[in-house]
Subunit: 121 residues, 2 copies
C-alpha cells in the first residue's frame, strides 16, 4: 500500500524492535532466518511460513537507511556447513524511527491494538 515517507509498517517496527533487543544483548548482527524464528516465538501471530515477506521488509529497511546489510564471510558458512547468511545491522536512524512509529501508533491506534480507555469513563 502507499504510505507517506518516513512511516514504518507494523512488520518493519517489529523487525527493528527485535533488532534493538538483540543490540541490548550485545548482538549487533542478525540474519533473516534467525529473525524469522525470533518473530515466530515472539508473537506467534505471524505465520511467515515462506519468508518472502520478511526478506522484502528487510530490503525495504535497508533502502530506508535504517539498516545495513552485508554478506557473511565465506569461510564461516563453509566451516559451519550451511548456506551463506546476509547479516543485518541497525543504523543510528533506527531507534528514533521506532520511537516515532510507536508515538504515532499511540496517537492513532489501529483496530486490534485497542487499549482499555481509562480516560473516558
Amino acid at each position: 500500500m502507499r504510505r507517506k515517507p518516513g512511516q514504518l509498517l507494523p512488520l518493519e517496527v517489529e523487525i527493528l524492535e527485535v533488532g534493538l533487543a538483540l543490540q541490548r544483548q550485545g548482538l549487533t548482527h542478525f540474519h533473516g532466518y534467525s529473525l524469522a524464528k525470533l518473530l515466530r516465538e515472539r508473537g506467534g501471530r505471524r505465520s511467515l511460513t515462506a519468508h518472502g515477506t520478511l526478506y522484502r521488509a528487510l530490503h525495504r529497511l535497508v533502502s530506508a537507511g535504517l539498516m545495513e546489510a552485508s554478506w557473511e564471510d565465506h569461510g564461516i558458512a563453509e566451516r559451519e556447513n550451511r548456506p551463506r547468511r546476509r547479516l543485518y545491522r541497525l543504523l543510528g536512524a533506527a531507534e528514533p524511527a521506532v520511537a516515532r512509529a510507536r508515538a504515532a501508533e499511540r496517537a492513532r491506534p489501529k483496530l486490534g491494538s485497542l487499549q482499555p480507555d481509562l480516560e473516558s469513563p
Copy 2:
C-alpha cells in the same frame, strides 16, 4: 542393505548413466539439483521429492572412487545469486563399473526388469 563390494545399486547406476550421457554432450561437471531434475524427466518413476536419497547416493559414489566432488567457485554462485553448488565429475572407473552393473543385471534380472524371454519358447 548390505552388498558385496564393487556392486552398484539401481540409483547409482542411473546417476552414472546420466553422468556418462552428459559427458558425451561435453558436460563434464554436474550438480545434485540438476541431476535430480534430469532423473525426474528421465524416468519420472523416482519421486526424489526431498532429495536426501540422491545426495547420499552421490556421496557413496565419491567414496567408491567413481566420482569426484568439488565446490563451485564462490564468485560464480555470487554473480548468479544462488546457493553454492557441489560439482561432481565422473572418474575413469565409472564407465567400466556401469558396464559391469549392466552385465550383472542382464545375468540376474530383478522383478520389474522382466524382458520377453525369446530364448525359451
